[in-house]
Symmetry: C2
Subunit: 202 residues, 2 copies
DNA sequence: CTGCGAGTATACCGACCGGTGTGGTTACCT
DNA sequence: AGGTAACCACACCGGTCGGTATACTCGCAG
């Protein structure tokens, strides 16, 4: 049952991301600039000077609003998680009738394809995780939460934890194969694999 | 048929990685130091000064041997691909008799678990790809070759391209879920998913 | 004996890193 | 009128970045 996608409880039992703090206008510009730069070039490759300049403001304002580059990185990922979640949910919840697990899960992969739009930069969360090294970074909980949310979503959509796990593995693998692997046929193979995973439901 | 794992043609038709160049003693130390530092802390987070110091030599020698940091990064990945491939193959090829696709494929996941040894730093190739940004980096072909090699391996082991693709997606997803996702149960779910994927073979 | 490849030691380069400090200008709230 | 939060301009900090230059020592092959 798709209990968590009922119109009355659109978020259901899935873990909810912490909300985004209210931002000033310069803060918004900074977060938007950081978002594009961090994603396209990598977190460590982008300096705070460039972010401030791109946003049409100053480093001073950046540090007044966000406190540190690390905090800005964490907020960038939190913001992106919110964007992806709303993008995804409105593509899953629309056909409120005749909603099968296969239809819903494949809609997630359709949404992913649209979201990526041919880009090859991969998953922002996996990429950020790769750059953070061994220590504990404020962005790590955001990354973990995003992955846990996707897993819980697939559990809900399939109604089965084992099938949800299987589909989630395919989902994460698809992102890697499409981007780092450079294999453009990955999405076709993913959809075929998803149908097999769903057919295994007991 | 496991044509490419016959004892007479251990590499078979799978694409072969370019060989590692011969290294001097200081060069070997540099590559080993770079390997550990790059993997554990990230490529961009490690400077050439630290690598030279860790290897007990100088930056001068590093640049005499490798020419640039980018070239050293590419060689680090090529070296790691060779290590992983030999580690993996000796764990797959050993029981030359009674070799089923299920046994072989699950042996890959066993090898992966052993290779990772509880570490949470993820796939070196995916991590490096995440750090390279948009441009063309000498490491990209090495990354692509490694992913293509794993895919071809699964095609061979399963004897079916669709099943191989499915298992490869699960494999890449497992690495992400275990590390960035921080989900320790990912390996158990992966093995279950693999059995389902293999059972779909026509 | 000579030449050469390999390695060591150290100094240097301009650019950039994340982060701070000062001072001044708006605009809104009480 | 006074306070304050937000913002901008700009200068500054110590440290590190990738990469280069100079000069010296060693072992070895011709």
């Amino acid at each position: 049952m798709l209990t968590t996608l009922d119109s009355s409880t659109p978020e259901g039992l899935r873990p909810v991301l912490q909300p985004l703090p209210t931002l000033t206008s310069a803060g918004t510009r900074l977060l938007e600039a950081a978002g594009e730069l961090f994603y396209n070039r990598g977190v460590r490759a982008v300096g705070v000077d460039l972010i401030a300049e791109t946003a049409g403001t100053t480093k001073k304002t950046l540090y007044d609003r966000f406190g540190s580059k690390d905090a800005l990185v964490a907020l960038y990922l939190l913001d992106r998680a919110h964007q992806w979640r709303s993008f995804l949910l409105e593509r899953i919840e629309l056909p409120a009738s005749a909603r099968s697990p296969e239809h819903s899960v494949l809609a997630v992969f359709d949404a992913l394809e649209t979201w990526m739009g041919g880009q090859l930069r991969g998953c922002a969360f996996v990429n950020a995780y790769a750059e953070l090294g061994e220590g504990d970074h404020p962005a790590v909980p955001v990354i973990r939460a995003e992955k846990a949310w996707m897993r819980a979503l697939f559990d809900d959509l399939t109604g089965d934890s084992a099938v949800g796990a299987h589909v989630h593995l395919i989902y994460e693998g698809t992102l890697v194969v499409l981007t780092a692997g450079g294999d453009a046929s990955g999405m076709v193979e993913a959809r075929r694999a998803v149908r097999i995973a769903l057919a295994s439901n007991g």
